[in-house]
């Protein structure tokens, strides 16, 4: 398909602008000539209709949650309610400047204040900052607070952060950015944190541990109380990567599990859309002892019931982005909480877990299931058996495209070979699950009977399998005439 630049014809435009209605002056008299552009930027020249058609055609080369089943593990691709899109677009929300005086933005502040309360309740934390823009940003913010906490107690030597080998890549990367020293520990045979490994790693240098719970295998860390005890008694803190909160909302809280800090992904568990890669929102919640370190500002309420932005927070780590976070995303997630209520959120978690267990049970005869036990909202299969027959997990994923499904997350977590991480979410019905099971079984059969068909998949997409090596070897990262 043509690039927009290849459709450009000099003289076309997609916008009509008003004439200048103020007395004009020569540009060169306002801006020194040496500061001015000699040539216009090479932007496309197309009419509005051509632009509309171009981007619509592009959209048809994409797969969204409304297109079909999207069991992308760890990403919680649940349905994104339409009304929330409308709500976030109310001009009382979109047409508001972040620096307006507080008395003119009471609605925004009230919403942020209540969202802090809701998320605190759901996580068992004291306060929540809505500033981080995504999960990884929440991790970084949380780790910074942990480090600041230790520094404030005169224990700045605590720089060691323990991360299991099953963790998401953002965990070690965030630790690095927070200036912490990473200690990666191996997961135990049952797919959970190995307590002996943990005890070996914990000492007086430990700042804390980062744990995803349920973990990236979809398993609940049942030893969490003991883990918390080990880390806390050594003076460390517990960070919860809450990417997998969809399994536990309304059922248990990270606070009750013993975590000191948690981030949530509103673009996963709280039905805000992922936008093809963002914007997300990664609020971070903390218990009382860490609250002074939260980014500034926080929204507070005055005696007269009005809301304000509190910047006077001397122990705060500062700011991690401008303004107050991805407000528009927070609006959608808040609308979601209102429509679900506590019972609905709990029901969602239960259905998500039921859907996952149902799929797991029905697929485990056809694919390897390295950790065969009750799962939470997702589970991880291995394509090991198929690999021995010369078909790898990537091939299986690509073949699923031909069946009209978005593939699961593949090759993650790293501790499972040929991993297929499947997360159905609660918004999928039984019929969809049955059809997906059927497709997975059929592909398993194809691996035996027509392996080439799987190896060369996909056969039905707008482009065939793309050459990643070529892309990286001689990078072409922009169009040139």
């Amino acid at each position: 398909m043509e690039l927009i630049f290849e459709q450009s014809v000099p003289g076309r435009t997609g916008i009509s602008l008003p004439a200048i209605d103020v007395p004009e002056e020569a540009i060169e008299s306002l801006i020194p000539a040496e500061y001015l552009r000699r040539e216009s930027p090479g932007l496309p020249e197309v009419s509005e209709g051509e632009a509309a058609r171009h981007f619509t055609r592009l959209s048809r080369r994409n797969f969204g949650v409304d297109t079909g089943f999207y069991p992308l593990g760890s990403c919680t691709m649940k349905y994104n309610p339409k009304v929330n899109e409308d709500i976030a677009r109310l001009n009382g929300f979109t047409r508001v400047h972040p620096y307006q005086s507080e008395d003119t933005v009471q609605g925004c502040l009230e919403l942020l204040y209540h969202m802090d309360r809701c998320l605190s309740e759901l996580t068992g934390m004291a306060r929540v900052s809505l500033q981080p823009a995504a999960g990884a940003h929440g991790e970084l913010t949380g780790l910074m607070m942990m480090k600041a906490y230790h520094e404030n107690r005169g224990e700045g030597h605590r720089k060691k952060i323990i991360v299991p080998d099953s963790s998401h890549g953002t965990n070690p990367a965030s630790a690095q950015m927070a200036g912490l020293k990473l200690v990666e520990i191996k997961s135990g045979k049952n797919g959970r944190l190995d307590l002996d490994e943990l005890k070996k790693a914990v000492d007086g240098q430990v700042a804390g541990i980062m744990l995803t719970n349920p973990n990236t295998l979809g398993l609940f860390e049942s030893d969490i109380a003991e883990i918390a005890e080990i880390v806390h008694s050594a003076g460390g803190l517990l960070y919860n990567d809450g990417a997998n909160a969809n399994a536990i909302l309304g059922i248990s809280t990270p606070g009750d599990m013993g975590f000191d800090v948690v981030h949530l992904n509103l673009h996963k568990s709280f039905a805000a859309p992922h936008g093809g890669g963002g914007p997300g929102s990664g609020p971070v919640g903390v218990k009382e002892h860490l609250a002074p370190f939260l980014p500034k500002p926080l929204v507070e309420i005055k005696g007269d019931g009005s809301y304000y932005l509190e910047y006077n927070r001397p122990l705060s780590i500062g700011k991690v982005r401008s303004f107050y976070g991805n407000f528009g995303v927070v609006v959608k997630a808040y609308a979601y909480i209102l429509t679900m209520g506590p019972e609905g959120l709990r029901q969602a978690a239960e259905d998500a877990v039921l859907n996952a267990n149902f799929l797991m049970k029905r697929l485990k005869d056809y694919y390897d299931l390295p950790y065969d036990q009750v799962c939470k909202h997702e589970f991880v299969l291995s394509g090991g058996r198929q690999k021995e027959k010369g078909v790898n997990t990537e091939d299986i994923a690509k073949r699923l495209l031909d069946y009209g499904y978005h593939p699961p997350t593949v090759y993650f977590p790293l501790i499972v070979k040929e991993a297929l991480m499947i997360e159905p979410t609660e918004t999928e019905n039984l019929e969809t699950l049955e059809r997906f099971i059927e497709a997975m079984i059929q592909i398993a059969g194809e691996v035996d009977e027509e392996p080439e068909k799987v190896r060369l998949a996909p056969h039905t997409t707008v482009v065939g399998r793309l050459d990643a090596v070529k892309a990286a070897r001689k990078p072409v990262l922009r169009w040139k005439p």
Binding site: R12, L36, A134, G275, P342, L354, V374, V463
Partner: protein, 446 residues
């Protein structure tokens, strides 16, 4: 009962049976009972769609919005016009409900749009390589500082005080934790002190960081800072206003090594501060140090052109703690809005918008000075935003403006105590002459 939950009680019964358990509780036995939520959580809802919408409209109604109150507030977030087409494109479910394009064969829409976006950012900034966005302009600047320190293996930066105060705070937060030493450069007449930079730069300086137009709206002499930085084998990082780049020389041409900026002005609503996006571009030499997603062109086995996430050896999912950054999700849909915006404006439209801003801002500036109640705070050339110093407290001026349904400028004393009574006024193409005249009228006490 819940419109988003299709599983019926009959389904549940059948599924539990298939799984081999009697009750849903059995699927949660791995969560110790002491950790189970007891009683009803203290949350609002559940509300029907109608009730929820009514509640949210009431909240939105408590805000004074810019449709009713013309806005002269900028300071890093601008009331530029957002063409109608953008929302229609963003609301295509194929775009907004998709995840990051991990499976390129079914994500060519997002990937090609990013490739086009990257090209546009390169064109605007005069740089060779762009990523597919980061969180916002401030975090883009912090990422750029980290990138410069990695690239030069040095641990200090010179950061102009004429850079957005919030962006400076974010740079300082990130830098504190990664042990980067931030030294601030003062300003004179609204411009970054070049002499001071000359004095402070040394063989530990990784980069000089300036903003253009800077926080005061004034235009910096970028080439001078580029020359100084390069003479000391340091980099020049420029934070730029993308609308200004319709008119101004691209920072790349002045010698910038990394160009970042707040992308909000490109087709994204103000939305009380977010979601926005940070753009980030650099040279080919530094391309492998860029954080975030980058889309590259490739082909399938039949030679059809296609696009794919590339140079992933920089990223957290491959390199973990050795990655250039921890960023995973970015601000994709906001970047798509920018791509649509720059497409419909095109070559001429962007320049026209920039000229409208320039002329209207200067008209506003002249008119305010003509009242005799305001003096120029600085005399450096500016683009769409400028500072004036009044005779009353900025809050008094703004309160009077608000009474007359006008959102006034940014009180600079908030961040610069030395700039008492100074207001930073932004004028976009969205302001009419009538609105400007009203601003001028009510800025003055009667």
């Amino acid at each position: 009962m819940y419109p988003y939950l299709p599983i019926t009680s009959e389904d549940r019964r059948r599924m539990l049976q298939a799984v081999g358990v009697e009750a849903i509780e059995e699927l949660f036995v791995d969560i110790p009972s002491v950790m189970r939520c007891k009683g009803r959580l203290n949350l609002p809802g559940p509300l029907s769609e109608m009730e929820m919408a009514r509640h949210m409209k009431a909240l939105a109604g408590k805000n004074k919005n810019l449709d009713d109150n013309p806005c002269f507030l900028g300071a890093g977030a601008y009331d530029h016009y957002v063409p109608s087409i953008i929302n229609h494109i963003l609301l295509r479910q194929e775009f907004y409900t998709a995840y990051t394009p991990y499976q390129p064969e079914v994500s060519q829409g997002t990937l090609q749009a990013f490739f086009e976006y990257q090209t546009m950012i390169c064109e605007l900034t005069g740089m060779e390589v762009s990523n597919a966005s980061v969180y916002d302009g401030a975090s883009a600047l912090a990422e750029a500082v980290a990138m410069a320190c990695q690239a030069t293996r040095r641990g200090e930066v010179l950061l102009s005080r004429a850079v957005h105060p919030e962006a400076r705070q974010v740079v300082k937060t990130y830098s504190h934790f990664s042990s980067v030493n931030v030294k601030e450069l003062g300003y004179q007449n609204g411009l970054t002190g070049a002499g001071e930079a000359e004095e402070l730069i040394n063989n530990q300086t990784s980069a000089i960081v300036v903003q253009n137009p800077n926080f005061f709206g004034a235009l910096e002499e970028l080439a001078k800072f580029a020359e100084l930085a390069h003479r000391h084998k340091a980099l020049l990082i420029v934070s730029a206003d993308p609308i200004a780049l319709g008119l101004l020389k691209p920072p790349g041409e002045s010698g910038a090594d990394i160009v970042v900026g707040e992308g909000q002005p490109l087709g994204n609503p103000l939305s009380f501060g977010g979601p926005y996006f940070g753009f980030m571009a650099t040279t080919e030499k530094l391309m492998r140090r860029l954080p975030g997603r980058i889309v590259g062109q490739t082909a399938d086995s039949e030679g059809n052109r296609g696009f794919i996430l590339t140079l992933q050896a920089r990223e957290q999912h491959i390199r973990r703690e050795k990655a250039t950054s921890n960023i995973c999700s970015n601000q994709a849909l906001c970047a798509l809005a920018a791509a649509v915006y720059l497409t419909v404006l095109g070559k001429k439209g962007l320049r026209q918008v920039a000229e409208l801003c320039l002329q209207k801002a200067h008209y506003t500036y002249r008119s305010l000075l003509e009242t005799g109640k305001f003096a120029s705070t600085f005399t450096a050339p500016f683009f769409k935003e400028f500072a004036v110093t009044g005779q009353e407290d900025a809050a008094v001026v703004n309160a009077r403006l608000m009474e007359n349904k006008i959102i006034g400028g940014y009180p600079l004393a908030r961040d610069y105590p030395e700039l008492k009574n100074a207001l930073l006024i932004a004028v976009t193409e969205n302001r009419t002459r009538d609105e400007i005249d009203r601003l001028v009228k009510y800025s003055v006490a009667t």
